[in-house]
């Protein structure tokens, strides 16, 4: 797949997203990989420690709505900048992935230790 140097990368990703039928999502590992890039700040599986927001178990509409909106907001905020790094389809995938995770990690049964 050639990357047309006249198109900014984000646009190319948007075009691919249209072509790729995101609703099919036949490769859930991709969503997992995309979402894993949030863990550096938001914690493994989106369960943050300390003051940063957790993402696991939050509503899809909340997560996607917020990040989509950030792309148009004043860039003087780390997340507003980060959001600009992803296509709408990627933000959708990431939001979908986190919304399906339980808020808290499942407690291990005693015999699993």
């Amino acid at each position: 797949m050639r990357n047309n140097s006249l198109l900014p990368v984000a646009s190319l990703q948007f075009v691919l997203a249209l072509a790729a039928s995101p609703a099919l999502a036949d490769d859930p590992d991709l969503d997992r990989l995309l979402a894993s890039q949030c863990a550096q700040c938001h914690g493994t599986d989106g369960r943050a420690v300390g003051e940063i927001d957790s993402l696991a178990g939050k509503s899809f509409s909340g997560l996607f709505g917020d990040t989509r909106e950030m792309k148009d907001k004043d860039p003087n905020d780390i997340m507003h900048r980060q959001a600009r790094g992803y296509s709408d389809d990627q933000l959708r995938r990431i939001a979908e992935y986190f919304s399906m995770l339980p808020e808290k990690e499942k407690e291990k049964k005693p015999e699993e230790h």
Partner: protein, 432 residues
Amino acid sequence: MSNHTRRNFLKVAGATAAVAAAPSIVRAQSAARIVVVGGGFAGATLAKYLSLWSGGTLDVVLVDKRSSHVSCVMSNLVLNGSLGLRDLRFRYDALKARDGVQVLRDNVVELDGRAARVRLKDSGWLDYDRLVLAPGIRFDRVPGWNAAAVPHAWIAGTQTTNLRDQLRAMPDNGTFVMTVPKSPYRCPPGPYERACLVADQLGERSGAIRGDGARNGIPKVVVLDANPGIQAERETFTRAFEDLYGDIIRYHPNATLEAVDSENRVAITSIGDFQGDVLNVIPTHKAAKVVARAGLTDGGRWAPVDALTYESLVPGFPGVHVIGDSQASGQPKSGHMANAQAKVCADAILRRLAGRPVDGPERAANITTNSACFSPITFEKASWLTAVYAYDPESKAMKLVPGSLGEAEDWNKDNFETMFAWSDNLFADTFG
């Protein structure tokens, strides 16, 4: 392709006491073995995510020469006493508790790419189905440089406390000289951040910052940058150097370090000789020895890899990946980025082992990594920088996504507080 007929047991070179004490590396016949060399941000994250995403069904062996990792991230705060080394030391307890993961304290001395095995100093030959090298950096030789007398503190640990102690002992109105390596180096904002914190520290001690007319004379922080300009957060650091610390910091670009007089703490550079009460030399970097000696740098400084999988682009090394500071794929070098790369690599390894494609158009279009970090500018205020990278199939490297690169408009206490939340999550995601 994975080969499930590899030897199951670790071959040991001899029956020394150390070897007898080492855990036997036993695995189920069907479990693929991944050997990870280096337990820093890249290696530790990789081992964790391989276990997590495989449901603990892989045999992951992490090898590091130390029993813990001291984070360079946040280590400039050790220099001004805000943090102790203990706050930044991470043992491998959480990793060891994960299914399928073993941690070996040993040193990799040889890589046999054709036979798919590495030789460890104490434990002997270790077969792998996939190998991931994440050993970090080493420094160029600099004539006359003695790193004990003139610390780099760019690999954290005793180097950091050495520099901290030297700073504590120097006169309040003294001179601190530091050299900045030629790009690319680990942590682009790091050296400038260090200059700010030292200027802040000396400025407070001497009274220079409060503008009392400096009781004992104004201290000097001399920054000798091998690059033509500030390499990260240019606006932030230009303002910090020229305004906030204008009386203290002297910034010199295009200063190539040629030699060091370690005894007298003199940096000998292309633009002159500079002596300090404390001299901090950070030489230009290259990939750690194990990567270079194996032939993975192809004669250059860094290991070229395909950022789709982090597999080596040098022929003759099937199943070998390089992540973190040692590799080159268009990304800045940092712990945060190393963690990000590890996840892409883990995903690629799982696909390779399962015989699933790594280079389909959908995957190639969704390979991203990001950089985010906070830089303390004073003892209580910080700035930040951030960027997102996306895979470019033509160059096989990561390219900056337009609009995603940014730095904070100012340094403040809120950012300083968020800095700790960020680093706590990064540490937990990597070592927890």
